[in-house]
């Protein structure tokens, strides 16, 4: 594994694509970078990662497709790589990818990442599969609760991918205390979403 921190300013903002295994991180990665990467994940020995770049509104982003992990307490080599990537790029922005049909599981790792104080944005992927299974995800409510931008995407059709790219610059550090307060039904002192219903257009700013 090469150290990419030395790549200089042309590498732009480092973005880590993180989430549970099999939620479509690589599909989303391919969509955003135009890469055609077949990423395999085999537990035990070598677990690699891919990186690619894309330019949005004149800003270059280097996206790193991190191996899927269930938590930040690694239990196998793939998860170790994921945790190491978070440690190696402390200034990176994190795209937390959730499977729309299994959001509660994804939120576990999402909150673990948010606890690290890294700027994040949440992509609720596989919306097509959720529609098929008659599952609806209240994106606006999730955004209000987490206080970071939440975008619904379908990586295989490309739906929401442009919006995700545009919202990347709105990624922000989640306030765990405020999330806990909102979960208890209290409104934190400084609520970032004021009169707006949280359409996602402004990232709740």
């Amino acid at each position: 594994m090469t150290d990419r921190r030395e790549e200089g300013p042309e590498a732009g903002t480092i973005v880590l694509m993180l989430g549970n295994p099999n939620v479509g991180k690589s599909a989303l990665f391919n969509r955003m970078t135009g890469a055609n990467a077949v990423v395999s994940n085999y537990p035990g020995t070598t677990v690699d990662f891919m990186s690619g770049t894309f330019i949005e509104s004149g800003h270059t982003y280097t996206i790193i497709d991190v191996p899927g992990t269930y938590s930040l307490e690694p239990r196998d080599a793939a998860e170790e790589v994921a945790v190491r990537m978070l440690r190696d790029y402390p200034d990176a922005t994190v795209i937390i990818v959730l499977d729309a049909t299994k959001t509660d599981r994804g939120l576990y790792i999402a909150l673990e990442v948010m606890e690290r104080g890294m700027p994040c944005i949440v992509a609720v992927n596989m919306m097509d599969a959720a529609h098929e299974k008659k599952i609806t995800v209240d994106i606006a409510a999730l955004q209000r609760l987490l206080g970071v931008p939440v975008v619904s995407t379908t990586a295989i059709s490309g739906e929401g991918v442009r919006e995700l790219a545009e919202m990347l610059r709105k990624a922000k550090v989640a306030d765990i205390g405020a999330i806990a307060q909102r979960l208890r039904g209290e409104e934190p002192e400084r609520e970032s979403v004021r009169s707006c219903g949280g359409c996602g257009g402004c990232g709740g700013q």
Binding site: E73, K102, Y108
Partner: protein, 76 residues
């Protein structure tokens, strides 16, 4: 009635009441206290034991399943 997950018959549903092992591994996979699950597969000797929680299938060893207490007949 509270039983070990390993004793839950095929196709039956139950609610997770207690996890007698460091719960982190199971929690991050989506198995938490209060969740309703359904037994899908239970292989003898060492497992695997596969349960369905909503859309999630979670596989674990038989030893792990013996440390999970579930309550049956909650919806009866």
């Amino acid at each position: 009635m509270q039983i070990k997950l390993s004793d839950l018959p095929f196709g039956e549903t139950a609610v997770v009441r207690e996890i007698q092992t460091p719960a982190h591994d199971l929690n991050c996979m989506g198995l938490r206290i209060g969740k309703e699950l359904k037994m899908v597969t239970k292989q003898p000797i060492k497992g695997p034991v596969v349960v369905l929680i909503g859309e999630l299938e979670i596989a674990m060893g038989l030893e792990m399943a013996e440390l999970i207490v579930v309550e049956t007949g909650t919806d009866a």
